[in-house]
Symmetry: C2
Subunit: 196 residues, 2 copies
């Protein structure tokens, strides 16, 4: 079973958008092969089975994608600037990569134990560890993990609900723009609703 050859990578990059759009069961080995330009049988020279191909594709997609965070929360900034930078990073990362977001969403609903552990290791753990200390430094009112989940949901739901929101009253395209989301989320996070 060869590794990291040129076709190996080509296969992964052909498979990713398919899995993102149609899910694991919605993509046939023949579909991936056709996209690459080979036959389904040839795929088995690179991957032992479909499961493995999917897993390697996931790993490839999430690897290095979330490495931009290091140093971004540098302490030379004010807490408010650091929060804004963090939210902006989050929005840009998942806002610009539709495939990454779709894969993540599918993995969270399918909740396969082994794949979730890989996701934690590659995506969430690095972000979480980097952010947790920062969160602790600005508030002691909230459980750090719960706050992390809240912020994640606050950001991600603006993307997850995108196809849905278009059908609601008061929708306008400006609500999809990254700057608007960043502004709205940070403002809400910093000030709250100030309810009497």
């Amino acid at each position: 079973m060869p590794k990291q050859t040129k076709t190996y990578i080509k296969i992964l990059e052909a498979a990713l958008p398919l899995f993102a759009a149609f899910g694991y069961k919605g993509v046939a080995m023949r579909d991936i092969a056709n996209t690459v330009g080979i036959t389904a049988a040839a795929l088995y020279n690179h991957f032992p089975n479909k499961d493995n191909l999917y897993f390697k594709a996931l790993e490839y997609a999430f690897d290095a994608q979330v490495s931009g965070l290091a140093g971004m929360l540098a302490k030379t900034q004010t807490p408010r600037q650091r929060l804004t930078a963090f939210i902006a990073f989050w929005v840009e990362t998942f806002g610009s990569d539709v495939i990454l977001r779709a894969l993540l969403q599918r993995e969270m609903t399918d909740a396969d134990e082994v794949r979730l552990r890989m996701l934690i290791q590659h995506v969430f753990q690095p972000i979480y560890l980097e952010v947790e200390e920062f969160l602790r430094s600005i508030t002691s009112r909230h459980d750090p993990l719960m706050l992390f989940v809240s912020i994640a949901g606050l950001v991600m739901y603006h993307f997850e609900t995108a196809p849905l929101r278009k059908l609601l009253p008061n929708f306008h395209p400006g609500q999809d723009e990254h700057d608007a989301i960043i502004e709205h989320v940070t403002s809400l996070l910093i000030h709250g609703l100030d309810v009497p």
Copy 2:
């Protein structure tokens, strides 16, 4: 094609947990039939095809499920009480019904145009219209729809990430409890982080 007979309902109720757990493609007509106690062929006396069975099951699941909101935001309460009541309703509704939440999550990732419209009509539009006026009454800083999405994500992500969070540092089971989520989310919404 008969309608609303006893077996018709039995089929829907047998199908729902299956679709919620394994998705549309992950459930075979045979699986549903076995759960009901009939053969797959007999299903076609009640539904023209699998697509229709799935759609009717979704409709059945979401119908009347979200009707508890009416009057809950009664204006006899203070804004803060109304906000808390709304968050509590949201958490209880989707926190206690794993099937409903899984179905919703799958629909949002698959994003089928026709089914999304049904979801809007049955679930989100009623909630949104009820809540929008309330949101407007307590703040003019935020776009109502964006604020609605933010609050939804704030609540839902504590459930969506449940299988994931167990694997993160600082996890403890108390973070899954409804009261803790309600307390955390309302507190965060009302006060914000108060970042300097």
